[in-house]
Symmetry: C2
Subunit: 338 residues, 2 copies
């Protein structure tokens, strides 16, 4: 087997999400047999509740059991964001780092988790509390996996495209609006869907390059990732990652409205796009106090400042360091009552 | 507090070996109080049996409990090799890496564990099976800690100096011979002791620079680290790291003798130095078959080749890739019966 930029591989361990294994396992097995690659397949549940150190250690145990060479036998990670992150973390700490290949099978995996160097698992109630920066040897993207992806998962992934559109590229926002809901119906497999995916990956890479290890903590791609880690960890397994990101973005849009960074028609237009993408804008479970409290850990994570990306109508967003309880309360009220 | 190359620190978490805490804890506390640094001290047992993921996670829990900022509040690691490695691993994975400072208090910590980027813990019976490369912000070396170091620990650390001398620098070997056993009596606190430490660190850094992440697996500094991981893991808590390294080096010296890389007088001269440093040359518990079997994991770790560094009489060592059971059996017999 020849991997882009990797060279010949004769032996590999495959970590695959159990749903993927049911859907594509036979094809994978046949492929590797055809090319004479000796493999062992480690099937794990790849839901968000599985994003734990235990997942990572099960991959480590599988690597040890397989007797993997340190450099010439890669770990192939097949699945969604959780498999990318938690198996990637295993690759980064086993023998201080072994090569791995990302094969994302969800939209979230394709446009978000497989771009960049980040790996990680949640720990002690903290989202991605443990992790590393570990570059994959290559990322193989095949959108035909999306054919079997449930619509809710597809919408969750679309939230990350929406994120990039809102915080960085108004043109992408228009592109997304014009092609919704068609992209959901054809599962991003049309030309328009492919173009959206390509543009998202391009924007992500542009934003990350030069800052792959987050030396600069002012990251516009963290839009939607300030309140969402708390939301997600409190409702792990109930609210998908992209849905939590959507809830976070909606709060930030309302705060941006309050601060005149954008106007009401723009806010309403965008919130309509949320609805068209089946993304939530408000969850009744969380009080403004609770959401504001979530910024405490964000401040630790962003080294003393909130650095909350807020969108602006006609250009890239900016960073707010002075969000108060009143802002969040106003936002929650706006999203509840319009 | 001002750390070399780090800048002002107002708040820090200290991980300290429990023996160090008994001996120096009050001084540390007084120091930080004097300089107005807010600290929390996390005391852990730093013996080799503690070099586990559990140690690392306890440090992670302490960081989370302390509410540590991601960049501006370092982790200070005070202790021997285990604290350097296992707490350093915690620093490398917490929030994908936070800054840490190494303050080694043992000779092993000073000349070996605190040089370079490696962190790690043992896992599933494998020595340093999990770990990372994570550069400390700075390393503070104070040899006055050695005053309270038990002689056996001192000898264990000296094994790493002996390693560098044998595999890389004949001059260092002479220096070590000429100053043994005085350096043990004055605990490396004489000019000669300081010079030996400085030279060892210099040689280590020369060897590592350009290869900090072990892209090249042919590493002469791995001398003494082929059979020793197995020996150490089988007798963890009984045989110190440096003692296992010594046992490994003795086997390699005998193999080198068998292969005419060095002569009998040189071998005997060197083995006498082992004895003068109170370092073992043979352990009756391990059969030649068992030791040879240990190379299996070494071959995985060194990506398909043995790459066992063997010493030569008058110059840097070389790498053997064809060590056979017969070589090991001959070596064991030579070391047992002379």
């Amino acid at each position: 087997m020849e991997c882009l930029g990797y060279g010949k591989v004769h032996r590999a361990l495959i970590v695959i999400d159990e749903t993927c294994d049911k859907l594509y396992g036979d094809q994978f097995r046949a492929y590797f047999e055809r090319y004479g690659v000796q493999t062992r397949i480690c099937t794990l549940s790849g839901g968000e509740t599985s994003k734990t150190l235990d997942f990572t250690l099960r991959v480590v145990d599988a690597m040890a059991g397989f007797g993997m060479m340190r450099r010439s036998q890669p770990l192939l990670c097949v699945g969604g964001g959780v498999v990318m992150d938690a198996a990637g973390f295993a690759a980064s700490i086993y023998r201080r780092g072994i090569p791995y290949v990302r094969i994302p099978t969800t939209l979230m995996g394709i446009v978000d988790a497989s771009v960049g160097l980040k790996t990680g698992v949640s720990y002690g109630g903290g989202k991605n509390r443990l992790g590393s920066y570990h570059a994959p040897k290559c990322v193989l993207i095949d959108t035909s996996f999306l054919e079997t992806l449930p619509e809710r998962e597809l919408c969750s992934g679309a939230a990350e495209i929406l994120k990039l559109a809102l915080i960085l590229e108004p043109e992408l926002l228009i592109e997304l609006e014009e092609n919704t809901p068609h992209i959901l119906l054809d599962k991003f497999r049309s030309l328009a869907g492919h173009r959206l995916i390509r543009n998202s990956i391009r924007i992500m890479i542009q934003q990350l390059s030069g800052n792959f290890q987050e030396r600069d903590l002012n990251r516009l791609v963290d839009f939607g990732h300030s309140f969402s880690p708390y939301i997600e960890m409190r409702r792990v397994g109930e609210i998908l990652h992209g849905e939590a990101v959507a809830l976070d973005m909606a709060i930030c849009i309302a705060i941006a409205l309050r601060r005149n960074l954008l106007d009401e028609p723009f806010a309403q237009r965008v919130l309509q796009l949320f609805r068209n993408l089946n993304l939530p804008t408000i969850n009744e479970s969380f009080s403004a106090e609770e959401l504001f409290g979530a910024l405490e850990d964000v401040v630790l994570h962003r080294d003393g400042l909130q650095r909350v990306p807020l969108p602006r109508k006609d250009g890239p967003g900016l960073f707010a360091n002075n969000i108060e309880l009143l802002d969040v309360a106003w936002a929650v009220d706006y999203l509840r009552n319009g």
